[in-house]
Amino acid sequence: MAQLTYRDAVAAAMAQEMRRDPNVVLLGEDVAAAGGVFKATVGLLDEFGPKRVKDTPISEQAILGATMGAAMTGLRPVADLMFSDFFAVCWDIVANQIAKTRYMTDGQVTLPLVIRSANGGGSRFGAQHSQSVENWAMNIPGLKIVAPAFPGDVKGLLAAAIRSDDPVLFFEQKSLYATKGEVPDGEHVIELGKANVVREGSDVTIVALALMVPRALKAAEILKEQHGIDATVIDLRCLVPLDTQTILREVAKTGRLVTVEENPRLCGWGAEIASIVAEELFWDLDGPIVRITTPHIPLAAANNLEDEQLPNADRIVAGVRQLVD
């Protein structure tokens, strides 16, 4: 078991899969010579050469168009979109083409591709480079959505994403790139669509994703120590497929649900989970469902305001206490 950073885990997963399958290739802006703008692909060019690790011109549409074509003709490409905000210029390719091809060809053409991107806030990049855009993708049938919180999961889930025959959007939280964690040595693959119960408690179930997972865990410690409230924390890891079984099981145990989302409020994934829980577990709920999100406004440029907007441990503590106390 090695201690790796979140960004090193990306490179480790890429290398693992590129060694295993010669069809796996990586393309994107500055992924080769520079090792990625977030240094998440360092060493890949040296090991696998310029044919399999390709720098591209600055055109996100071109990157994803080439990725789609590569996948259609037999490769397993991984595209690096850099900032996830750039999905906004790529939606025709992603939403109308990539997501629908397998269905519209009646399964004759699969697109085993991965689009990696640096998602989310907390790193002082301003409103146009800090968004949590996983909900944008969640509206489109045909895409799998992964957003890990820990380096070990980065490696295992990215490997599984590359092996998936369906297109996967892999959201790396850019504020987590420097965090460290244990990553299993050797081949490591985690099945997509399995949430992880990262803390067990009896009073309330907190469901979180990516950057919100460590914050929810911190909040859970404060709740236990200062308020005697024992929280379960679920790391969703994937939005599609969504592990509703784990969510329902853990919410049924405590009777209380709090979702913590980095995205702006309206139509966030937490609303979907709240709706599922209300439908399936209404008679087990011991209180209203609470959603903690970023307010429904663009992220501020000022550091102190950005920190204020994103849900933090204190806000999670307050949200849970409002429900449980």
Partner: protein, 473 residues
């Protein structure tokens, strides 16, 4: 060998493991109880089909999986050596006792300020999204919100109860006035009521609480795992109280709605003179009872006539599939059995068209007594092609039954009563007293038309009225 999720009916695609009777490391014998499974309509016990040691349990209780999924592994060669090897996966941690600081605290009424995510939006945006706000925004509209909900609730003496507390209170008939609430404004939390029930249970003289393994475990467990809980005693529901559906009630409700939505039902009925049937029943009554241990009712005669008639009208012994009708070769007759509070089931008599009246009588007696004893096996529910529903014991006149999907017809047998009947004879009409009952069939108008169904019913009637039943029995 692998233990698979059984197929419990032809339309059933998945099942839920309700609980395991064995754990990893246990030795199991053939036909020994292994686990309980729940599915559309039924909850049943599944015995082991091989002897050996359980080496793996892959699907924990409470989990729903597809038919055919491997649930556990039995090592048939390991009987002798087993028992100490594999430990069971750790059970979920028990609920910790309520924390000291969770004592009731006086609280202000519900906040009048809007939630932070909402307040942070500029006025132009937040007017547009006002509909999303659970409360009117702060100033300006406070007049519209006369008082905070909790104040109003307390003044009116209403209780604000969570859905979980409501459900548990209804199921266990808990008098909420005697439960102390530790939640905000003295609200009763789920833990309060669970602990209340536990305390009551530990006082044997007060048997108001249903027995079970552990009330707390059952109440707190996921709903799928909760199905084993005892049925709530039939209590007069207080006005306005919500009596939550039991699992079987809900499944029945879903099936009925689905059937009505799927099949355009048409009801047709014929009046049948059971004179000949009655004569045979009278003749054989004592001998039959002595030989078979149960009495000879009208139902096996009707079942026999239906099977014969279906041979001539096979389109009623079928299922609609896509744009076509799948005709079944044999009649697998489902018999609706009422289990009272446990709901309604329809076990199937396979190859009913090959059975004599007395064999049908024994088969009907067998499935209905096993249904009442909860001893039906998965296979008893599969493959039904036509259903008989018998309300006759209550003396009903006519019943419009709902089709048991994916079948296309169902026959209701109602009460048989003595009535004056006009008989046409060669010496002129005469009035006789005859045992008469109505047979009512609902059929799926997608599958057949009214004339076809009517001709079938006429055939059933003629068979019942004219057969030489002593020969058929």
């Amino acid at each position: 060998m692998n233990v698979l999720m059984p197929q419990l009916g032809e339309t059933v695609a998945e099942g839920t493991v309700a609980n395991w009777h064995k754990k990893v490391g246990d030795t199991v014998a053939v036909d020994e109880l292994l686990f309980d499974v729940e599915t559309d309509k039924v909850s049943m016990e599944v015995p082991a089909i091989a002897a050996g040691v359980i080496t793996k349990i892959l699907v924990p209780a409470g989990t729903t999986v597809d038919v055919g999924t491997v649930l556990a592994v039995i090592d048939s060669g390991a009987e002798a050596t087993a028992s100490t090897t594999t430990a069971q996966p750790a059970a979920p941690a028990p609920q910790s006792p309520p924390a000291a600081s969770a004592a009731p605290t006086a609280r202000a009424a519900a906040p009048e300020t809007p939630p932070s995510w909402y307040a942070a939006m500029p006025p132009s945006m937040n007017e547009a999204t006002e509909q999303y706000s659970p409360r009117a925004s702060g100033e300006g509209s406070s007049a519209a919100v006369a008082e905070a909900p909790s104040q109003a609730a307390q003044r009116d003496g209403h209780r604000r109860l969570s859905p979980a507390v409501r459900r548990i209170a209804a199921e266990y008939r808990v008098d909420l006035d005697s439960v102390e609430g530790s939640g905000r404004d003295g609200r009763i939390t789920r833990r309060n009521i669970v602990e209340f029930i536990q305390t009551k249970k530990n006082q044997p003289q007060q048997q108001t609480v249903a027995t079970g393994t552990s009330a707390a475990e059952q109440l707190a467990a996921a709903p799928a795992a909760r199905a084993g809980r005892p049925a709530p005693p039939a209590a007069p529901a207080s006005a306005g109280a919500v009596l939550p559906f039991t699992r079987i009630r809900k499944l029945t409700a879903d099936h009925m709605v689905r059937s009505k939505a799927t099949s355009p039902h048409v009801l047709q009925a014929v009046e049948v003179d059971f004179f000949r049937v009655d004569q045979v029943r009278k003749t054989l009554r004592e001998a039959f009872k002595a030989r078979h241990g149960h009495s000879l009712t009208y139902l096996p005669f009707i079942a026999h006539a239906v099977c014969q008639a279906l041979h001539e009208f096979p389109n009623l012994n079928s299922s609609v599939q896509g744009d076509g009708l799948v005709i079944h070769e044999n009649v697998n007759l489902a018999i609706a059995v009422d289990l009272g509070a446990e709901g309604l089931v329809a076990p199937v008599i396979k190859f009913a068209n090959k059975l004599s009246v007395s064999q049908l009588a024994s088969a009907i007696n067998d499935v209905s007594s096993r249904a009442r004893g909860g001893k039906l096996k998965p296979d008893d529910f599969s493959g039904g092609t036509y259903t008989l529903s018998n309300s006759g014991t209550f003396g009903t006149l006519i019943t419009a039954p709902i089709i048991n999907q994916p079948q296309v017809a169902i026959l209701s047998t109602d009460g048989v009563r003595k009535k004056p009947v006009v008989l046409e004879t060669s010496e002129g009409d005469t009035i006789a007293i005859r045992p008469v009952g109505i047979l009512a069939q609902s059929f799926d108008h997608r599958a057949v038309d009214g004339a076809y169904s009517a001709a079938f019913l006429d055939k059933v009637r003629k068979l019942l009225e004219n057969s030489h039943w002593l020969v058929e029995v």
